[in-house]
């Protein structure tokens, strides 16, 4: 069983007060947690990579907890989430897909069972690559005000034999959301969509 070796971790919190419009009564907060780990499959083709997903679960949980704490400690304040991965150049895109299950598991665990699929993206890239991580409402994917994204990246990662793994959480929708569609106040939150 390959061990999860973390080289680096980055937590960021962004607080937006306005974007040219009226000052928000409650600033929007968006947090990202990024971990840089060794890619145990870098440099060669390995058929059976799936077991690594279980190894990554504690990391997913740790990062999800760090996000809630960075947003103030109350899991109930979290309204949006997303995840992503950048695979270093000696790995394959499929290695990034290993993050889907443990990343989603970690966030659902701390949020107490969010219903919506966790929006995600991934790519292969070099150090300093940036990734626009998509964000949607945690209980209803169609909530239009919560369609969002946040850019992440670290200047010196991922190296060729590394994986950069990201989770993101937000406390609300876009700061001046006014493009209509399903509202957070209108959702049923049962099927994960509406």
């Amino acid at each position: 069983m390959p061990e999860v070796q973390v080289r680096k971790r980055l937590i960021s919190v962004e607080e937006t007060f306005h974007e040219g419009g009226p000052l928000a009564s409650k600033p929007l907060r968006r947090a990202t947690a990024v971990a840089v780990i060794r890619n145990p499959y870098a440099g060669h083709y390995v058929e059976n990579i799936a077991p690594f997903m279980d190894d990554l679960k504690p990391l997913g949980l740790e990062m999800a907890k760090a996000l809630v704490s960075a947003l103030g400690g109350d899991a109930k304040a979290v309204e949006g989430y997303g995840k992503g991965a950048i695979v270093g150049s000696a790995g394959e895109i499929e290695h990034g897909a290993l993050w889907h299950a443990p990343g989603g598991y970690g966030m659902r665990e701390v949020l107490g069972g969010a219903k919506a699929i966790v929006a995600s993206t991934k790519k292969v890239g070099g150090p300093g690559s940036r990734l626009d991580v998509p964000i949607t409402h945690i209980n209803a994917s169609y909530v239009r005000s919560h369609f969002d994204s946040i850019e992440i990246g670290i200047a010196d990662a991922p190296r060729a034999d590394e994986l950069l793994l990201a989770l993101v959480m937000t406390t609300g929708g876009r700061i001046h959301a006014r493009a209509g569609g399903l509202k957070a106040s209108e959702i049923k939150g049962e099927d994960g969509l509406r």
């Binding site: 680096k8 960021s12 007060f17 940036r130």
Partner: protein
């Protein structure tokens, strides 16, 4: 007049290993970045005192935020740095007015000491520009293990009429320092140099 802040972001970076060698305890550094309106964008203004006042206000706010992100008592800060990026309708002198005359005093007041110059960098740039914040030991600029830099960026800043201002603090030097020079346990910390 006080700063018109659109956004504040904090970054906490933790290095746990380097080249496969554990870094224990991890080195940790944090940066707080504010995106503020540039009151002088698009015109030449001789008297920049309004920006100096904004610098004073941000010195206090950003230092508090960055130290809070590290989760340490202010006295435990080991190194610091500051930087600013001016949007395309401003001049580099605007960054100088924010950074140099008044920003440092509240930084030093908050962390309790700070005999050394606060290393700084500035630039003019567009949205998503990377700021490389130089870092140096807070009481003795010649401590070689603490010569460092931290890259931060915000994908949607600075807009043309904005200025991005950053303060970075650490509780440590580089991950595995081994290029000699003055060490932190050898310093007097009186003249700011040694």
């Amino acid at each position: 007049m006080s700063a018109k802040i659109r956004k504040i972001a904090t970054f906490l970076e933790e290095t746990r290993s380097e080249m496969g060698r554990p870094v224990d305890p991890p080195t940790r550094r944090a940066a707080a970045v504010a995106v503020v309106e540039n009151p002088f964008a698009g015109k030449y203004v001789e008297d920049l005192s309004e920006l100096m006042a904004i610098g004073e206000e941000l010195g206090e706010l950003l230092t508090q935020r960055a130290v809070a992100a590290l989760g340490i008592s202010p006295a435990k800060v080991e190194s610091y740095g500051k930087a600013a990026a001016v949007g395309e309708n401003g001049e580099i002198e605007h960054a100088a007015a924010i950074l140099h005359p008044k920003l440092g005093a509240p930084v030093r007041k908050f962390i309790g000491k700070g005999a050394a110059l606060i290393p700084s960098s500035k630039k003019r740039g567009g949205l998503g520009v990377a700021l490389d914040i130089p870092l140096g030991h807070k009481d003795a600029a010649f401590v070689r293990s603490h010569f460092d830099g931290m890259e931060v960026r915000i994908s949607d800043a600075p807009r043309s009429n904005e200025i991005m201002v950053a303060v970075a603090v650490t509780d440590s030097g580089r991950p595995i320092p081994r290029v000699g020079g003055l060490t932190k346990d050898q310093i007097k910390g009186e003249d700011g140099l040694r």
